[in-house]
Symmetry: C2
Subunit: 202 residues, 2 copies
């Protein structure tokens, strides 16, 4: 049982995961369009009211990119404003290591559904933009000039896009996945057309 | 009058621009939500049938990023497969130079509406992804390996994002706008965190 002070947050996280799992499973079985909120609520073991409070809409359950959202939450603002690349790399690595096999499996299946569903693809793309903006805000010092702000905006947008291009395979060794994610962040920082090694810093 | 062989394409382009202009003006006047297709058709001087054929839905009129769409169309496949950066730079420059003051003004106003409208932001983000994919296809040689394919996918996605971050101001001198767009493409290629000048090649 989690310690009392973490219990509420943990209950919330548990409910979100149950809802995501139910929505993914039901959409795999019947197609996204045929799945209704009451069925998701029933399978997840939460009330419809809770489902609406947590996600707003059915698409909302698929919307937010849980990985990027967690990266943004874990980003240390002090480090981010001094060394954005290091801060993003650390947040990405910590996020990846905190995900268990089921988390990664659900993420893989969620992505497959989003890509196949035009309605979800649109809201998914928006969610990536929103996460990119959150990353930017945490990295940008209040006194940054326009050029610096643009540089960080583009780094965040590129990182969000690049992280989304790394496949999720729950059976791949964690070390390999973490390395692929770190490489994606470096490509976002130093560009896909740079000579490999020339700017990678390691 | 355009030469006979270009007349049909030119008529189509004229109708698309009239529809875009009508949709932008009416949304500025009444808000996107309150504007209906018949009103857009009437102001644009085209039939509703034509409007549906060209754009599908009301959001569709705002969806597609005309700039990126034109860049993808102008991309020379032969050059793109040999030197993707040069090909994208040339296509971007040619696209920018072919836009007149009204084109740029409409684009500025379209973007302002899209950013303010959550529904449009989602479909807009999707359209950027689709254009990114079209760019990738034109750049990727059929025999490219996975690493090369990913590199080009990320370059296209980054370029689409970076071009969208360059403000459109119809009163700015064309040279300055072209320079800003070229700089954005270079950032997509060589990364926002690279030392300025170190990889810019010029």
């Amino acid at each position: 049982m989690p310690p009392p002070q973490g219990r509420r947050a943990s209950n919330e996280a548990r409910k979100r995961r149950a809802a995501r799992r139910a929505a993914v499973e039901l959409s795999e079985e019947h197609g996204f369009g045929a799945v209704l909120m009451p069925a998701i609520a029933e399978r997840a073991g939460v009330s419809e009211r809770t489902l609406f409070r947590m996600f707003g809409t059915k698409a909302g359950i698929f919307w937010h990119d849980p990985f990027l959202e967690r990266v943004a939450t874990r980003l240390d603002e002090d480090t981010a404003r001094e060394d954005p690349l290091r801060a993003v790399l650390e947040a990405v690595e910590a996020t990846a290591r905190a995900m268990d096999h089921e988390d990664r499996d659900l993420e893989r299946r969620r992505r497959a559904l989003v890509v196949a569903e035009p309605e979800l693809l649109g809201v998914g793309a928006r969610s990536v933009m929103v996460s990119g903006r959150e990353l930017t805000e945490r990295m940008t010092p209040p006194d940054a000039d326009d050029a610096e702000r643009l540089r960080l905006t583009l780094f965040a947008a590129f990182a969000a896009a690049a992280l989304g291009a790394v496949p999720v395979d729950p059976d791949e060794p964690e070390e390999q996945w973490v390395a692929a994610l770190s490489a994606a962040v470096r490509v976002a920082a130093f560009g896909p057309l740079s000579e490999p090694g020339a700017t990678s810093g390691r």
